[in-house]
């Protein structure tokens, strides 16, 4: 017979979730006053750009990789996809610089920084395979250049940049799922730990005491 006190994985998972993310921590309605700065907007801007990238990418996936060559609507969606990627990286770099100068890995936040780094690297991979999915001379040129570099590492045996189907699969399934999962984890970590407090001003304590 089981009782409520028995070990039970759904219950322990629920308890762990509840203690790590009580609703007011998961979706807070106030933040410390030092968060009232434009620099804190850039994480959310990066996410917003990623949202547009994903939405336009989904449309491109429905119509296929050559659609944009013969349809002006396709060209428009393709341009939206490209330019939101540009904004995504732009906002991400400003975000990264901000967190670097705040040393936002302080106070048990190393994993937040590390998931940021990984999301950056995986995003670059997604962009590179995107360049290979353009179905034009540009992508052919890039692929023939990249293959030599990758073959020199031995990686070409499993990751063949000349294989359009493989590159498209990486670009539209594997890597976006990776970026999405890492971003969710990254933002949950921010919620879990709360925003990092600023550096103490040297001498501030003495001034307050006076």
């Amino acid at each position: 017979m089981t009782t409520a006190t028995d070990k039970n994985w759904t219950r322990s998972l629920r308890k762990a979730g509840e203690s790590a993310f009580p609703p007011e921590r998961l979706l807070p309605d106030t933040q410390p006053s030092y968060v009232a700065s434009w620099i804190y907007v850039f994480g959310a801007l990066t996410m917003a750009a990623l949202g547009v990238v994903t939405a336009t990418g989904l449309v491109l996936a429905v119509m296929g990789p050559t659609w944009w060559h013969h349809s002006s609507t396709g060209h428009f969606i393709n341009s939206m996809h490209l330019w939101s990627v540009e904004l995504f990286f732009f906002a991400m770099v400003v975000h990264l610089w901000g967190k670097f100068f705040m040393a936002a890995w302080r106070g048990n936040r190393a994993l937040t920084w590390i998931t940021g780094v990984v999301s950056f690297v995986v995003s670059i991979g997604t962009a590179f395979t995107g360049y290979l999915s353009q179905t034009n001379f540009d992508s052919q040129w890039i692929a023939t250049q990249a293959k030599d570099g990758i073959n020199s590492t031995g990686g070409g045996a499993v990751f063949n940049v000349l294989n359009f189907g493989q590159m498209l699969m990486w670009h539209i399934t594997l890597l976006p799922i990776g970026v999405g999962a890492i971003v969710v984890f990254h933002v949950l970590l921010v919620r879990r730990r709360g925003v990092v407090p600023p550096f103490e001003l040297s001498g501030a304590k003495e001034e307050v005491a006076q």
């Binding site: 006053s33 009232a36 610089w97």
Partner: protein
Amino acid sequence: MSAGVLEAVRWGAVIPLDHPNHFLTWGWLSISYSNLIVIGLMVVTFLGAILIPFPGHKKSGEK
């Protein structure tokens, strides 16, 4: 072509993109002007994000 498309084509021609990139070469450093401009814009945005006051927020001490 509609007026909007014509306008876009005209603007596209203001910055001709159909040629190899121009590069700044300074000793060992070699960087395309387009990349340099984007890096400059990121630096400007970063400084703006730090220096421009966030709307609706009073500095501590102000009432």
